[in-house]
Symmetry: C2
Subunit: 335 residues, 2 copies
């Protein structure tokens, strides 16, 4: 998964740092937060003085994670001697946290996104890791960092949320074995799953209801829209699709699912999901976004109707090409 | 979990049988089907001639399971020398399959429901097993039955579906370790999860949309109704709530979730879910149904409005009593 050299190089950068700044992406998810906090605890244990930053406030359902309250949105100006960027496919994903960075400090880039641009002084990047915390698990083993209950809890949170509870196609026996080890170190799987995956405001369920009521389906694509007015009526605007795309891809009729979420600024957030055999990172990347083969996203200009029409036309084309390329035109079938 | 004696007694019954009849409950789920098929393969490997029966047709999304096509709805009259009842809290749950049973044949009752009535000649029953296949895993180890790919696939299907993908509170490191062993024996976790949990007709999503549009919430209870007319308009009548209750209990506001599904015969199927700290098997049992603390169900007479009113009144009372009993009136909080 990771080369011995990148582990050694990461280890060297970390050993030379005294005051590292740790940053994760805007709109942080469970893997980003779990990575940030577990790395923070490991660095503290090694006698460093880490600063943990995220431009956006962390979702409160992750407040059970040890160290949650230590994360700042606007880090003090430093000076820092190392920037550790976690779970970001490119550096711009950390948002305004970059204001705190001095010139010429080295960057340790730890990530598992297939679209990672290798922006680090050292890149600890592996696309076959199921989560960034999966990479950190291996880094901590390399560093002989003991996995206490706090670190184990944060690491397992990334494993669980990025695999949607061990549901993604990349979950191997090794991943489950790591989960066993982390549970035995004290990580509470049920609490992590409930808070990380199975807990949402009633308003999110109402938003899903509105989205499902507008469901459309054609050519293996299942999609829906969430107009801003609908979000505002429900009182759930500005929180994205609340996971609705994951629900849509569960339809037996879907090869690809898409949710178009109208933003307050008029842009349209587009969330793509695919079943194994299809790749939606291609179209997301082409439209200026990123992600994985089975889950990707981008942001396009509105209005909603136009964005929907254009993205679906591109998607249909791209899917037709994918079906042609795979096995001489035979459609890949959902498992 | 299971007493050595019940394992020995089960083993004795099995060794004496030549032509066992295996039966599971009506409206079979992944654990029932996984139990039936894994037990079938194990008995075949031991040179027996098992007959596998289920009154209702098996859902097609389980067609990937080896042996799926061998299950009959109306077993031939026999004679059989052992009835093995899997995943049933009482004998009536096997429905009309009981017509094929001769008098005086012994019954092996293998189940993990807290409401099991111990109806067997031998009862291999353990409430702390996460699934009936979890019990079978231990029985097979006791019998020195090798776990080939077919048996492993069927066993993992029960583990995955009854824990909703390792999400329930009873998932211990031991359960995940068994999952690792079954994956290493060839069980395809992703296929099992997708087919067992994450695959549903578009019509089921539309049904959820209709249910979510009618969502109500008060006193820690989140509930909705699925009138028959709504089910018929969508074209999804007769399939229950399609898992909607599991979705409702994800609401942060919910201690208990209830879905009232109107049946073609006018009865109302009531599905209960609870967060850890509450017990809905009590009310389900009181209303003639059964289940576990966190997931239970029953069937009550219609009409829908009246059933809803009466069940909610009883539930409110019961929840108030549970809150009183737990910790001197302090409400148990969702994790």
């Amino acid at each position: 998964m990771i080369s011995a050299e990148s582990l050694r190089e990461s280890s060297r950068l970390l050993s030379e740092a005294r005051r590292p700044l740790l940053a994760i992406h805007v709109a942080p998810d469970g893997d980003a937060i779990g990575s940030l906090l577990s790395m923070g605890w490991a660095l503290l244990a090694q006698g460093k003085s880490p600063t943990l930053a995220c431009q956006d406030a962390l979702p409160l359902r992750f407040a059970f994670l040890p160290g949650f309250e230590k994360v700042v949105q606007e880090p003090p100006p430093g000076p820092y001697d190392l920037l550790i960027v976690l779970d970001c496919s490119d550096l711009s994903r950390i948002g305004q946290v970059d204001r705190a960075i001095g010139r010429d400090i080295p960057v340790l880039n730890i990530d598992h996104h297939v679209t990672n641009t290798r922006f680090g002084t050292v890149d600890l990047v592996a696309e076959d890791a199921v989560s960034t915390t999966h990479l950190l698990y291996h880094l901590f083993r390399h560093l002989h960092q003991p996995l206490d209950e706090r670190i184990a809890t944060c690491l397992l949170t990334g494993l669980v949320t990025d695999t949607r509870g061990f549901r993604t196609a990349n979950v191997t026996p090794e991943v489950l074995r790591i989960a066993v080890e982390l549970m035995e170190a004290g990580a509470p799987l049920t609490t992590i799953t409930r808070n990380g995956l199975d807990r949402r405001p009633l308003a999110a369920l109402r938003l899903w209801g509105a989205g499902l009521a507008r469901l459309q389906s054609a050519d293996g694509i299942v999609w829906t829209t969430l107009p801003l007015s609908v979000q505002q009526t429900i009182g759930h605007d500005g929180y994205g699709d609340a996971g609705l795309a994951n629900l849509l891809i569960s339809a037996e009729e879907a090869h690809v699912a898409v949710v178009f979420t109208e933003q307050p600024d008029g842009d349209i957030e587009v969330g793509f999901r695919a079943v194994p055999g299809f790749d939606v990172s291609r179209i997301a990347l082409r439209l200026g976004g990123g992600g994985h083969a089975l889950a990707a996203g981008c942001r396009v200009p509105g209005p909603l109707e136009k964005a929907q029409r254009q993205v679906l036309a591109l998607l249909r084309e791209d899917l037709a090409r994918q079906r042609e390329q795979s096995d001489g035109g035979r459609h890949p079938q959902p498992e």
